[in-house]
């Protein structure tokens, strides 16, 4: 358990540092936090008094250190303050967008993981054959295209030229399950295509490095059928480092999701974040940063734990 505690400690320290940074980086940004309060959408300028009262409402009139304490105080009660633009608690604003991104990643990443692993196994099982060469080059090609290009191509082919799927990714009231799947299909496919390339390449590398180990030859010498050799021996040995690395991939995948959300105008976390930057609604920005930071730290921790527990050699030491 020692190692787990050390890991937790490390991540906690990282989190605290990030929280403080999160607060400071935004408040010190060259854009004035009051810009959003100076004029409404139509450009009508607020009078000084109106602005003062709005600032008081959001607690922006107090000195920075007082705001810092209030920020941390609220944090521990799990509240993230109120969005300037939406006049609603930040948690309530973020929740639906976060859910949308989670759905996109959930539906996209895990099938991509399965397909990626399967293709990698095939590649390794049939290495030195055109199958491996072909798969490898297609995946490299997939990774060479700018991510939003594949998303655009999908939108063009399957929604515009050949209207199989809706062009709008958002839902409508009373949408049945089938309809919902149809509207999510293209964004999910675009995101999965982007991730499957990376997963395949990473998995293929990990499996190859295990292929040469003596226990693989020993397994074959025990008359174990080839499929069993790959699934039970090669994959099992490559799994711990592979899963850890893939969890890190998931943490980094917020970038990939961003392009998909941008091309399909999908109401996910990054769409919200960009809108919040435009309006400089920084309590909301802080919330978005915290959520993405939390997700990444959790996934990092998960990666470390996976590495520790999946491998018996390190299990007791952890």
């Amino acid at each position: 358990m020692r190692r787990v505690l050390a890991l937790l400690g490390q991540n906690l320290a990282l989190a605290l540092l990030a929280l403080a940074l999160n607060f400071l980086l935004l408040r010190l940004a060259p854009a004035s936090p009051f810009a959003a309060l100076e004029r409404d959408d139509l450009g009508t300028v607020f009078t000084a008094e109106q602005r003062a009262r709005l600032e008081a409402h959001y607690g922006l009139d107090r000195p920075l250190w007082a705001q810092f304490l209030a920020y941390f105080g609220r944090l521990f009660q799990g509240r993230l303050g109120e969005s300037l633009y939406f006049n609603q608690p930040v948690t309530q604003v973020i929740a639906p967008y976060l859910a949308n991104t989670a759905i996109l990643v959930g539906l996209g990443f895990f099938p991509a993981l399965l397909v990626g692993l399967l293709l990698a196994l095939l590649s390794v099982a049939f290495h030195r054959t055109p199958l491996d060469g072909g798969l490898f080059t297609t995946m490299i090609l997939l990774k060479s295209l700018p991510p939003y290009f594949t998303a655009m191509a999908l939108l063009l082919l399957l929604a515009v030229l050949w209207p199989l799927f809706p062009t709008t990714a958002t839902s409508l009231p009373g949408m049945g399950f089938g309809e919902n799947l149809r509207r999510l299909f293209l964004p999910v496919l675009a995101y999965a295509l982007w991730e499957v390339g990376t997963i395949y390449l990473v998995a293929r590398g990990a499996l190859f490095s295990v292929l040469g180990s003596p226990f693989v030859a020993y397994a074959r010498a025990k008359g174990v059928p080839e499929s069993w050799v790959y699934l039970r021996h090669v994959l099992r040995a490559a799994l711990p480092p592979l899963l850890a690395r893939i969890t890190l991939l998931l943490a980094g995948s917020l970038g990939g999701v961003f392009f998909v959300e941008r091309v399909f105008a999908y109401p996910g976390l990054s769409t919200l974040a960009l809108a919040a930057v435009g309006r400089f609604d920084y309590p909301l920005l802080e919330g978005v940063f915290l959520v993405s930071l939390g997700a990444v730290l959790f996934l990092n921790l998960l990666a470390d734990l996976l590495l520790a527990f999946l491998d018996p050699r390190t299990r007791e030491a952890a």
Partner: protein, 514 residues
């Protein structure tokens, strides 16, 4: 009980195929509560206009009585007496009375941050009295002629029996925050996806034409229209073309929207502090080409007076600054600038550098064209693109020379005496502006407006560039006929829109005849 009844109606109509859903393409504007100080002017106002009512409303041409049936000013315009419409009910069934109006405006007086017009209520309204349940009297400290249109046509009346119990209306999250008197009530709001409004069967001004109204944001309105993902959207004419003549689709005539783009000069820094220099630049920018290249012709050149041609105070005959590079160079020569080969040297013989700020990525195209035009005169232009917030910061601090700025439409001059950015100080302008606000006789207002436009066209603190043309494309369903509300939805010249709630109700009795 009311909601149950409404729901039953929905079922009944649904049964006979009359129940219809109409989907509007509309930007998401957050929680549809009545109080949203920062969001209220734009999309939020359009969304909430279906749920709440104002004392006055506007039809295609002019303001019309709405919750207020009739009104009378006293002689010196310090007292306004309104008589309210009877038999109007809130969505939760409670009757609408004068107490609601009194409560709403006293609340705005106490908390001017709730709405950007509220500062006028605070400054000018002394007291609001309710002699009887359907009569309201406003007492003013100083006469405000267009208080009717600018405030009563703008502020949404809220139920006193709900908001009376709320200590801080800004950010109130109670479930009953959506209660209004409007033709539709909020059934569901899925943030970032859609608003679902349900018909209010006994709306005082008429029966809603559809049982459900959905407002949703779409990435590509043309594709969405083609594939039936939305029933109505506003498009530039070049995109609306493909739908004209298609069965099932109707189009409104093209309309110059009030949103406009302008080039703001920093009148406090050399060289843009010299009026001739600003005029020379104005002659050096080809606004026709700007419309042709950026909007493919879907736009009209904006008047240097700063007002939209549809504004009642629009004055013709101002200097047009049509593209004339020779005139520009002549003006610059008079200031001592000399042309040497391709470069323009300032009076001290140095190359003239100008910094041009551009608000947001979407205006990058326009900025690049302006930069090309100015470089055509021999100026060296360095261009920077800034997001909204950093741009506001730079503008308010005056740390800029030229700023390519675009924002929502407005019907009259800026509310505050200082023109676009707080940099432009002109006592004559501030004085004329006060006259314009407080002129009692319409004639004085028109004259003051004319003088202001003349001054702006001459002094040119900012060069308005163009208004883009928009056109509504919508499905012919449930007898809905969209129209352009001249002067903007709210009395003060609010957001330009084709979605006037009148188009969505079957007019009843004498309240409103199409």
């Amino acid at each position: 009980m009311k909601r149950l009844f409404g729901w039953l109606i929905g079922l009944l109509l649904a049964g006979q195929g009359l129940a219809q859903t109409y989907i509007l393409a509309q930007m998401d504007a957050g929680d549809p509560t009545p109080f949203a100080p920062l969001r209220q002017a734009g999309p939020h106002w359009i969304v909430t206009s279906f749920v709440y009512d104002t004392l006055l409303w506007r039809d295609a041409q002019k303001p019309i009585p709405w919750l207020a049936e009739s009104w009378r000013w006293n002689a010196d315009k310090t007292e306004l007496r309104l008589s309210l419409r009877k038999g109007v009910r809130w969505h939760d069934g409670k009757p609408f009375t004068a107490e609601d109006v009194r409560f709403t405006f006293e609340l705005l007086k106490a908390r001017p941050e709730l709405s950007n017009q509220a500062n006028l209520v605070k400054d000018y309204v002394e007291r609001v009295e309710t002699p009887d349940p359907y009569a309201v009297v406003f007492r003013f400290r100083r006469p405000v002629p267009d208080f009717l249109e600018q405030v009563l046509g703008w502020e949404k009346v809220v139920p006193a029996h709900i908001w009376g119990k709320v200590d801080n209306p800004l950010g109130y999250q109670g479930p009953d925050r959506y209660v209004g008197t409007g033709p539709f009530q909020v059934r569901e709001y899925r943030r970032g996806e859609y608003y679902l409004f349900e018909a209010n069967p006994d709306y005082f001004a008429g029966q809603p034409r559809v049982t459900q109204l959905v407002l949703r944001e779409v990435a590509n309105p043309v594709l969405a229209l083609r594939q039936g993902e939305v029933d109505a959207a506003s498009l530039p004419p070049r995109l609306a073309k493909e739908f004209s003549g298609q069965t099932g689709f109707l189009l409104t005539p093209p309309q110059p929207s009030y949103a406009y783009t302008k080039l703001i000069f920093n009148t406090a820094r050399t060289p843009t502090n010299r009026r001739e220099f600003r005029q020379a630049l104005a002659y050096g920018i080809n606004r026709e080409r700007l419309i042709q290249q950026v909007l493919q012709g879907d736009g009209i050149v904006a008047s240097p007076g700063g007002l939209h041609p549809e504004s009642p105070w629009f004055v013709k005959g101002l200097p047009s600054y049509a593209y004339n590079p020779e005139r520009a160079l002549a003006l610059l020569a008079r200031l001592g600038y000399r042309r040497q080969g391709a470069r323009l040297l300032d009076p001290q013989g140095r190359e003239t550098f100008l910094s041009l700020l551009c608000r947001g990525q979407d205006n990058a195209r326009g900025c690049a064209l302006v930069k090309e035009d100015l470089e055509g005169l021999g100026l060296r232009v360095e261009l920077k693109v800034l997001e909204t917030a950093p741009m506001e910061e730079v503008l308010s601090k005056g740390e800029f020379l030229l700023a390519y700025y675009a924002h929502g439409g407005t019907f009259n001059f800026f509310q505050n005496p200082d023109f676009p950015a707080s940099v432009y100080k002109n006592p004559r302008y501030s004085e004329l502006y006060r006259v314009f606000i407080e002129a009692k006789i319409p004639g004085d207002r028109l004259r003051a407006a004319g003088e202001i436009q003349g001054l702006l066209a001459e002094d040119l603190p900012a060069l308005p560039l163009y208004h883009s043309l928009v056109q509504a494309v919508y499905r012919d369903k449930a007898g809905i006929r969209l129209f352009w509300t001249r002067g903007g939805l709210a009395g003060r010249g609010g957001p330009p829109s084709f979605y006037n709630k009148l188009a969505f109700i079957e007019p009843k009795g004498e309240v409103y005849r199409r």
